[in-house]
């Protein structure tokens, strides 16, 4: 914890000590709870109607105003926004023919042809990142208890869900039938990111300053497990995000301690998938925290500087900088554009891959700073936005 954070923590504890419970509060709570429970039972029908109305309000709020102004709407082809129904999405990963969504303690699989949920992998309380590839869906993050009687303290894990095994089922299925926990954090820290590529799943473990490489060799261990070897690659300096593509695995480092900013430890490096060797890191701004690949480049999002930096994957030289009008939390390259997520403004922005200029109208989502979009990915021919429901974006 930095000096600033320690001061803030000390102050908060000092402040909190001023607050205390008062006599009689419990009796008031209990009395009100009994009344409310009685009223709730008779008002259940009304609640259903209210939920329906709120859904309509959310849909109409997609075009609510925000501080970000249009760039040059006449130059850009329009984007069709399709809300996906009945899905609470925190993270999304897409392959060519399926879209996987984690959220609300569940993992959904969506058919991108119909936009319908095909089924739910039940009771997978994972809060973290998700990737699909190498014959499996991979989840990395915090995971609580699986199965009946859940609610145990979460711990850092990596889960693998076999796609072939999932394919034998239709509709909902229990995680135990198709998945396995393949790694547990010894320090009970959640992994930061997971990607697939070059025959492996790659997981960033911030606390250990390393990348974990899981390589399934195809040999079955049980009906839902294949033999998976683990290689640890030390990369130093708190890796926070990964991308696979353009000839390598790309790792960005940042520092949670602000006093380190500007000292060169906010960097980008490349892991050679053939040898597993990390390159020398190159400076990547102040707070690089997301990376992606596409259009023959590596793209690094910096939320402090409010920019995306474009790097040459061969030389690791910086090719350009896209200025953003506000801080972004995630990025994707697809459908001919760079896309960035701006949760506090509740918008998605499009940037031209060559000129690095903003293109077209901001795509607005309801909720703004409280419930804005937070994550974005490209797959199955579309851009997918999650964070407050799930939306599919297609350039027309």
């Amino acid at each position: 914890m930095s000096d600033v954070e320690q001061k803030i923590a000390a102050l908060l504890h000092e402040e909190a000590d001023k607050a205390a419970l008062t006599a009689g509060m419990y009796q008031r709570v209990l009395r009100r709870a009994k009344i409310r429970r009685a009223l709730t039972a008779t008002a259940a029908g009304l609640a259903v109607i209210a939920i329906g109305i709120s859904g309509v309000v959310m849909a109409t709020a997609i075009r609510s105003p925000s501080s970000i102004e249009p760039a040059d709407p006449e130059e850009a082809p329009p984007v069709e926004v399709t809300p996906i129904r009945d899905v609470f999405a925190e993270q999304v990963a897409a392959s060519d023919n399926s879209v996987w969504i984690s959220g609300a303690d569940q993992l959904y699989v969506l058919d991108p042809d119909s936009n319908e949920v095909e089924g739910v992998v039940l009771e997978v309380p994972v809060w973290g990142r998700i990737a699909v590839g190498e014959g499996a869906v991979w989840l990395a993050g915090w995971q609580g208890d699986i199965g009946p009687g859940g609610g145990t303290p979460p711990s850092g894990k990596v889960l693998r869900l076999d796609l072939e095994e999932r394919g034998r089922h239709q509709g909902d299925v229990a995680f135990e039938e198709v998945g396995e926990v393949i790694w547990r954090s010894a320090q009970n820290e959640a992994p930061e990111a997971v990607v697939t590529g070059f025959g492996s799943a790659w997981v960033a473990e911030k606390l250990g300053d390393r990348i974990l490489r899981f390589s399934p060799d195809g040999a079955a261990v049980t009906h839902r497990r294949v033999r998976t070897s683990l290689t640890e690659i030390s990369v130093g300096n708190t890796p926070v995000d990964l991308a696979a593509g353009e000839g390598g695995i790309w790792v960005v480092h940042t520092r949670s301690d602000p006093k380190h900013h500007g000292r060169g430890d906010a960097s980008l490096l490349k892991i050679d998938p053939a040898t597993g060797a990390p390159s020398k890191p190159v400076p990547a701004g102040t707070c690089p925290h997301s990376v992606t690949t596409g259009a023959a480049a590596v793209w690094v999002l910096d939320f402090c500087d409010e920019v995306v930096r474009k790097f040459d994957p061969e030389t690791m030289q910086r090719l350009g900088v896209a200025d953003l009008p506000s801080a972004a939390t995630d990025l994707a390259v697809g459908d001919g554009y760079l896309w960035t997520v701006h949760p506090e403004d509740g918008v998605i922005l499009r940037t031209d891959l060559e000129s690095l200029d903003q293109i077209g109208d901001p795509i607005r989502f309801g909720g703004g700073r409280d419930y804005g979009p937070s994550a974005i990915t490209y797959g199955a021919g579309s851009i997918w936005v999650s964070g407050d429901g799930l939306f599919r974006l297609d350039v027309r």
Partner: protein, 164 residues
């Protein structure tokens, strides 16, 4: 409400209410408001106790409800505050001259947007991880990082000289 159920709720109340009041107080800066919010939060959760996905994770539900109710109150207050002219708001220099440093920090903390303040309180007071904070705030870890970073930067900007 059956006796057994009431006993369970009583146990939950006495185990978590104190922490909840302190959390609400940090989020609102007002003891009476904090108590109201915690009462509301317990009433909501008690009346829906059987519907909770994991009743054993009561503390998580409670934190989330307290944060959401504090946010609702913050929105209402903001509407009222917007009616007040800037002339009534003390300028930074005036604040600096008449308040002690720690009081100034408190003022700066309370001036943060609700979501940024909630992220700071959950991370540095409740000592939640980024993942757990994201769960309570119902946002991504990246959004938590962004909120904490912006809040810290904002405090540093307001508190030049106090923070390194």
């Amino acid at each position: 409400m059956a006796k057994r159920s009431e006993h369970r709720l009583s146990d939950l109340y006495w185990r978590h209410a104190g922490d909840a009041v302190r959390l609400a107080f940090l989020l609102t800066g007002d003891h009476h408001a904090a108590e109201d919010i915690v009462q509301d939060a317990f009433v909501r959760l008690f009346s829906r106790f059987q519907e909770l996905r994991s009743p054993d994770a009561f503390e998580i539900y409670l934190r989330r409800t307290v944060v959401n109710l504090s946010r609702d109150r913050f929105r209402r207050l903001k509407l009222e505050r917007d009616q007040v002219t800037k002339a009534n708001t003390p300028r930074q220099a005036e604040v600096t001259s008449r308040l002690e440093d720690r009081e100034l920090i408190r003022h700066a903390l309370r001036s943060l947007p609700h979501r940024q303040r909630a992220a700071l309180v959950l991370r540095f007071y409740a000592d939640l991880s980024e993942q757990q904070t994201a769960e309570v705030l119902q946002c991504s870890v990246a959004a938590v990082k962004s909120l904490v970073s912006r809040a810290t930067a904002s405090l540093r900007e307001r508190m030049r000289g106090e923070f390194p």
